[in-house]
């Protein structure tokens, strides 16, 4: 009943408009080369601050979907994935484009994204409240454990050097400590009044993702070729086989997507590998198998939806984009967690309802607009890049009307670019930046009650054990790859 009310509320003219604008803007930004979904959400986040709470959350979620869809479009048409999770889509999507069949690849991408999105929305509606009920018994010890688990998992699973990932996470914890702390003591401000309020989240994110991505693109200097779209719709046989692939990918990716650190890219890669294993013609994968596109896209969307379960039920973001959505909630004094489904029931069901609405909007609008999106890709980067930087500057300025925040954006842009350039992961920094206050607050509460509290709470140790498992699993995976020399990417 709550869900139906939520869908009806999301379908109200005002909310429908937010979802429509968010989907369109998100797709537009996601299609443009050099901007992934995280950057899109980060850059556009401050501009949604003028909306009412439900409008802002709906718009943000729609921008997230839209930019994900846009990222897949660039992956299929130009072999330029808008984000890491679209890399797997490019394996077969771009191969289909080279075979002169980008239309069916785009159509299947939209249809399977829609399927996985709708199934994922239903699962969020079913699982979210149950997880929230379980979390009602959580105290500071469990929240400390959960936040440490989230940060450990994302550091362990971010790929590359784990030591580097943990260093970056600690740097994130240090950076978020700047400013007046919870007991009104200014820390790491060095007498600068601008630093008393700390670094605002929006400029930090915009810098780390938006500015850094532009700088990275300037360095790589990629040129792109757009192929003719041709026939759009796939054949009936292709549609049938893609539906099976999409369902399998959704079944695999949704549970995985609920785990912190389990990036959509990992889910889509696992779903792709599974599809290749169950296929009667595994040799077609990587050479234009439409099932590969279906599996990758469905997995992306299912995992993307699954990320909302820990965010809404526990208040724990599983990745950088969810961290931004958490910030959007916090902006209105709403704290995601177990009480969200009871205290802000209307808002949360409207948000879940908007998932359905946005998915339908994406399906209806994007297929006819594919030609337009394809043309947009041809906008020359020298024109696009300064406009992105302009949006980054304004987006940073807007939340507090403070020029200092634009400097923060600039500094974090340089930091993000250098981190990327030197092969340091950025995601652990973002997670630490968002989870840092939770960790410190919970740790200080535990300390104030009694440090022995940790010994009495098995939930805390369960999360710590899960974090250690993520570390060991990641280490063993790295060791195995080093031994066998198996490359995870497709040629």
């Amino acid at each position: 009943m709550d869900l139906i009310n939520g869908i009806l509320s999301a379908a109200s003219p005002e909310n429908l408009l937010y979802a429509l604008v968010g989907s369109l803007v998100g797709t537009l930004v996601g299609v443009l080369p050099g901007i992934g979904s995280i950057s899109a959400v980060a850059i556009l986040f401050p501009f949604t601050a003028y909306l009412p709470p439900d409008g802002m959350i709906i718009t943000m979620a729609a921008i997230f979907y839209g930019s994900m869809y846009g990222g897949s479009t660039t992956a299929i048409l130009m072999n330029v994935p808008g984000e890491v999770s679209s890399v797997v889509t490019a394996f077969d999507g771009y191969a289909m484009t080279r075979q002169g069949r980008p239309g069916p690849a785009l159509a299947i991408s939209a249809i399977t994204s829609f399927m996985a999105g709708v199934i994922g929305s239903v699962l969020v509606a079913l699982i979210g409240p149950s997880v929230a009920r379980l979390a009602f018994d959580f105290g500071p010890a469990e929240y400390l454990g959960l936040a440490l688990f989230g940060m450990t998992a994302i550091s362990a699973l971010s790929g590359g050097s784990m030591v580097k990932a943990f260093i970056v996470a600690v740097l994130g914890l240090i950076l978020v400590s700047v400013g007046v702390d919870m007991s009104d003591v200014p820390r790491l401000t060095f007498g600068q009044t601008d630093l008393l309020l700390g670094f605002e989240l929006a400029p930090v994110m915009i810098g780390l993702f938006g500015v850094a991505e532009v700088l990275g693109s300037l360095e790589s200097g990629k040129s792109v070729t757009v192929h003719a779209l041709g026939k759009l719709m796939p054949t009936r046989a292709e549609l049938r086989s893609s539906v099976g692939s999409a369902l399998r990918a959704t079944a695999v990716s949704f549970p995985l997507g609920m785990l912190p650190g389990m990036a959509t890219s990992i889910c889509s890669f696992l779903a792709y590998q599974l599809e290749r294993k169950v296929s009667r013609h595994p040799e077609r994968f990587g050479k234009g198998a439409i099932e590969g596109v279906a599996a990758a896209e469905a997995a992306n969307n299912a995992a993307g939806m699954a990320h909302f379960v820990p965010l809404l039920s526990l208040g724990i973001p599983t990745g950088a984009t969810m961290a931004l959505l958490l910030a959007a909630f916090n902006m209105y004094g709403i704290t995601p967690g177990p009480t969200l489904f009871t205290q802000h029931s209307s808002l949360i069901w409207t948000l879940i309802g908007s998932f359905f609405v946005a998915n339908i909007i994406m399906l209806i609008l994007n297929l006819p607009l594919v030609g337009l999106w394809a043309r947009l890709i041809t906008v020359p980067y020298p024109v696009l890049a300064p406009i992105i930087l302009l949006l980054c500057a304004i987006g940073s300025y807007v939340p507090r009307n403070n020029l200092f925040d634009v400097w923060v954006c600039f500094a974090f842009g340089v930091l993000g670019w250098l981190l990327h350039k030197r092969d340091w992961p950025v995601a652990p920094l973002v997670l630490a930046y968002v989870l840092g206050p939770v960790i410190e607050r919970s740790a200080r509460q535990v300390w104030a009650i009694s440090p022995d509290l940790l010994l009495e709470r098995p939930g805390f140790w369960a999360f710590i054990a899960a974090g250690l498992f993520a570390v060991i699993w990641s280490r063993s995976g790295q060791a195995k790859r080093a031994r066998t020399g198996v490359e995870s990417g497709e040629e």
Binding site: S183, L215, P382, Y397
Partner: protein, 168 residues
């Protein structure tokens, strides 16, 4: 697009040394701040906890930095497909620095002149350098985007830096 770490230019030992020095400095600064809290501000409520937290972070950073220092520095591949294809990349290496310089100039300008003027100057410089379009095209596009966006922000109620004289 590949994510194979072996194909990336990996940090040389000199870069790693710079990284280690910077991380060490951060650890020292955070430790000093935490120590100051614990020793001199212990009278303030919560200061000891705030300081202890910083000491903990500094210790963690120092330990992780030590672990990173013990890892062997990997060298960039001397030759290979990436190195061969890297001529274009090497030529473009200065581009992000110039882009960064222009963005820096834009942020400085925003502190002294009106949004539309700063934006016009930034766009014109950027388009001229990176786009290498004709001067007239650059000026027209820069003016259109600067004035158009200033008008759009005003319509949307988005506050802009206002210095000197304003167009809107």
């Amino acid at each position: 697009m590949t994510s194979d770490p072996a194909l990336k230019i990996l940090p040389s030992s000199r870069s790693k040394t710079i990284e280690l020095v910077l991380l060490g400095l951060v650890a020292i600064v955070v430790f000093a701040e935490g120590y100051r809290f614990v020793t001199t501000l212990s009278g303030s409520i919560g200061a000891a906890e705030a300081g202890t937290y910083l000491l903990l972070l500094a210790g963690l950073l120092a330990a992780l930095t030590s672990a990173y220092a013990l890892q062997p520095a990997r060298r960039a591949p001397a030759a290979g497909p990436e190195a061969e294809a890297g001529d274009e990349g090497r030529a473009g290496r200065h581009k992000p620095w110039i882009g960064l310089g222009l963005f820096f100039g834009y942020v400085v300008l925003l502190g002294y002149v009106d949004y539309a003027i700063a934006t016009f100057a930034f766009l014109a410089a950027y388009l001229k350098y990176f786009g290498q379009y004709r001067t007239v095209t650059v000026l027209v596009v820069a003016a259109a985007v600067a004035l158009g966006s200033a008008y759009l922000w005003q319509v949307l109620g988005v506050a802009m830096p206002r210095n000197g004289f304003s167009f809107f």
